[in-house]
Symmetry: C2
Subunit: 121 residues, 2 copies
């Protein structure tokens, strides 16, 4: 737990890849045995890079932009507020929490948001 990673650069790379990459590109940012819960409380945990790629495939057809709004870091973890705009029609502002391994790969991601945080544009 004593390694140092540049969590802000890793989060920015993640948001850029969500906006401009494919689901395979995003999944490649995750460790092989990573976990993803989005939304938290939704009752579904995606375990492993293959399942995680499946989660992001739903976004492959969408025109997405992302914006980092508030960033906080602690050790090899990060918590941040960001906006994701979908096709110029919808804006969602989640808080996400991520942990990273010493190679900078995401080991766990949790996204906190609900319908209350979705704005139709």
């Amino acid at each position: 737990m004593t390694y140092v990673v540049d969590t802000e650069a890793l989060v920015k790379r993640y948001l850029d890849t969500v906006a401009n990459g494919t689901s395979a590109d995003v999944a490649a940012l995750y460790a092989e045995d990573a976990t993803l819960e989005d939304p938290v409380g939704g009752g579904q945990m995606h375990i492993g890079r293959h399942a995680i790629e499946g989660f992001y495939q739903a976004m492959d057809a969408a025109d997405l932009t992302t914006e980092l709004l508030t960033f906080r870091s602690g050790g090899h973890e990060a918590a941040f507020v960001f906006a994701i705009n979908v096709g110029g029609a919808m804006r969602i502002e989640p808080i996400e929490v991520m942990s990273f391994d010493r190679d900078g790969q995401i080991t766990a991601m949790k996204a906190y948001w609900s319908q209350d945080n979705v704005t139709m544009l």
Copy 2:
């Protein structure tokens, strides 16, 4: 994991108690076997209500106000940005993540912040 708690009301009660209560009052909001990591990455985990009360005792002498800035909820968890003002001299804006049990007691708290998020007033 299927219980429902009003996480926003619980977070507001927590922030109000931090501002206006004693360390014992704040500790009473935590479950007996709760964990607290503040700041995340700081290398110290406080385990159990007694240790948690000790953590908050450092704030007993301070004149504190708190303000909820951004709130997100998922199931029995919450993530939020808030401000804590210390004696009119210092303002800190962490992101905290909390889990609650079915009685509404805090079972885990993690606070993400660093010196970058401290403003001298």
